[in-house]
Structure formats: C-alpha cells, structure tokens
C-alpha cells in the first residue's frame, strides 16, 4: 500500500475491524455503510432561498463533493437522499411524497431550513407545516436560511446515520410501522 505523504488529503478512515499482515476483516454492515455514506446521490428539491444556499454548498467554495456527494441526481429513481430545501405549500405536498415514493430503498430525507422543517414563518393555511407531515425525515437543518456550513453539517449527520445503519433496519417492524404511519405500502 502506498504511503500517503500529502497531509492535506484526508482519506476516509477504515471502520472498526481486525487487521494483520495482508488482511482486514470487518462486518458487512460497516463495509456497506462506509461505501454508501461516501457516495451519496442527493436529489435536490429546492423551492426557495434555502435552495440558493444549497447552490453555494454545491459550488466550489463549500464543495459538498468533498463528502462524496459529487453527483446530484435529478431523477428520484437513482437518488439516495432527498434534500427538501424551502417552503412546501400544501398543494406541493403530494409532489414531495410522490418523489419520495419513487426513490428506491435505502433512502434518506433531510429537511433543510425552517420552512421544510416546520413551515417556518409561514403560519398560514396554504403552507405545509413541515415536510414530516407527508414523508419521514431523518435530519432537520435549522436556519432561515441555514448557511452552507450548516447544510454540510446536516449532510454529515446523514452520513453518520448511513454509516451506522444496520442492514436489517429497512426490514424491521419499526421501520414498516414508520412508513405505515405515513400511509406508505
């Protein structure tokens, strides 16, 4: 194995495991989690100012690609992570849900900003009071709008969830009950 002499390059650390000359052993969960969490394909669902912050997050200054989320997927069928950024009106709620349903398991959802998390300042009849009324949410990013650093932090919390997720979680009765509570399946 070549020794990395460039201290500025940060290579993802291996998961816990056993190693000796010529081998490294770890559990399948951890190996899969390591691969998944460093190759997220996010689907940006950007409706307002949080979406502008997200554009900055993806651009060169903040560069979300550093965390393995290089490739945005504009098709839900190939996406792992639904990023809802901005106010979702009640009329758009079914669209968010449909996009979520079109994503294949395993899938994660991040609500970026006050509006996606709770409706934000829009305490009104036309605005969905948080996307968790229609789809299950894994990580909430506060802020109005959040800075790119906060969105990156939210993504890293998603990475923690992905990296530590049991391969059996999506088949568990708890997860099925969660989906059932949203009327999915």
């Amino acid at each position: 194995m070549a020794v990395n002499t460039n201290n500025k390059v940060n290579i993802v650390a291996p998961p816990e495991g056993h190693s000796d000359a010529g081998f490294f052993a770890t559990s399948l969960d951890k190996a899969v989690g390591l691969a998944r969490k460093n190759s997220i394909w996010p689907l940006p669902f950007a409706t307002s100012c949080c979406g502008i912050e997200f554009m900055a997050t993806m651009a060169s200054n903040y560069d979300m690609a550093r965390f393995g989320a290089e490739r945005l997927s504009f098709s839900p069928r190939q996406a792992d992570l639904l990023m809802v950024m901005g106010t979702i009106s009640k009329k758009m709620g079914p669209v968010v849900k449909q996009v979520y349903l079109q994503m294949a398991e395993p899938r994660w959802v991040i609500a970026v900003g006050a509006c996606a998390s709770s409706g934000g300042i829009f305490d009104t009849y036309s605005v969905l009071q948080g996307i968790d009324k229609v789809v299950p949410v894994d990580v909430y990013v506060p802020g109005c709008p959040p800075r790119p650093e906060q969105i990156i932090d939210g993504l890293m919390r998603i990475q923690d969830l992905i990296g530590n997720e049991s391969l059996r979680r999506r088949n568990s009765p708890e997860y099925k009950a969660l989906l059932n509570s949203y009327g999915i399946k």
């Binding site: 009640k90 009329k91 709770s118 409706g119 305490d123 009849y125 036309s126 605005v127 009071q129 948080g130």
Partner: protein, 167 residues
C-alpha cells in the same frame, strides 16, 4: 376627491349617460378613479369601457373583497386605458348568501385565471366562466380562505402558537 382630470370627466360622463341607474358612487381615492357599480350590470359596463369609444383595453386585475362590517362580498376590477394611460377601478358588492356575478371572460380572455383566483379565495361564482375551479389552493380545500370568518393560521400546526408571531 374632485374629478379634476379631463379623461376622468369624459369617462364618468359617458358611463353616466349610458348607465344612469347603475353608477352609485364616484371618487378618486389613492389617485385612481373609482366607481361603485351595480353588480348586475358589470358585464355591460366593462364591455362599454373596453369598446373602441372609451378604449379601456387592458384588464389589470380582478380581485375579491370581504366587507366584514356588512358581511358582504365584493369584486374589484382594475382596467387600464393604454392609449391615454388612464386607470379605472370598479367596485361591486354581492350578498354573501348569493355571491354571483357575470364573468367578463368573453370581453377579456385574461379574466379567466383572475376570476378563478377570486373564486378560489372568496367563493364568488362567475356566471358564464368556461372553467370555474380552484387555481392556487389545493383542490381538496373545502373552504374559501380569505373570507374573514376563517382563521389565517393553519389548523394542523403543532409546534407554533400566536405569541411567536406577535398575535
């Protein structure tokens, strides 16, 4: 409040001679000529304004009103004469028990969506509209949210209260 504008005088005189019993109140609030008119005559009045003779060829806006003091609904039309740059505002009042008024889509095609919006928020029925259904709110909504008897706030909110919004 006086009609010190030659264009205003011309329009008001023409309307008064054509519809002597349908023009109720004339004023110039916020520097715009404003007439309260009989809702039954609205289509004829707007057709006359839009004719070659008066030249009000552009419908700027149609919107609804809910007069809380008398519990009446209303429709307000803003019409623009682009040749003389004159604007006119027409106000009508409708009983809340029967909020019906003639559609002006046959005169201005642009009234289609504006009347749908007015229906969506105030429940005003535009007779003769080709496709009167909700346009901005979700189809499942079962009330008209800008009528004053309905709350502004969302009924499904769980983590907010009025004090957070200074109410």
């Amino acid at each position: 409040m006086e009609l010190n504008n030659a264009e205003y005088t011309k329009v008001v005189d023409a309307l008064k001679s054509r519809f002597p019993n349908s023009i109720n109140d004339i004023g110039v609030p916020y520097e715009t000529l404003t007439l309260s008119v009989d809702s039954a005559e609205i289509k004829n009045i707007i057709a006359f304004l839009a004719s070659e003779e008066l030249g009000f060829s552009f419908l700027t806006d149609v919107c609804g009103m809910h007069y809380e003091s008398t519990d009446e609904l209303g429709v307000v039309y803003h019409i623009h004469n682009l040749y003389t740059n004159t604007r006119i505002r027409l106000k009508t009042r409708l009983p809340k028990s029967k909020p019906e008024i003639d559609s002006v889509t046959s005169i201005f095609k642009s009234a289609n969506w504006q009347e749908r919006e007015t229906y969506d928020f105030f429940g005003i029925i535009f007779k003769g509209h080709p496709d009167l259904r909700r346009i901005l709110n979700m189809d499942e909504m079962d009330y008209f949210p800008l009528r004053k008897e309905y709350p502004l706030e969302d009924g499904t909110r769980t983590d907010k209260n009025d004090s957070m919004f200074g109410r």
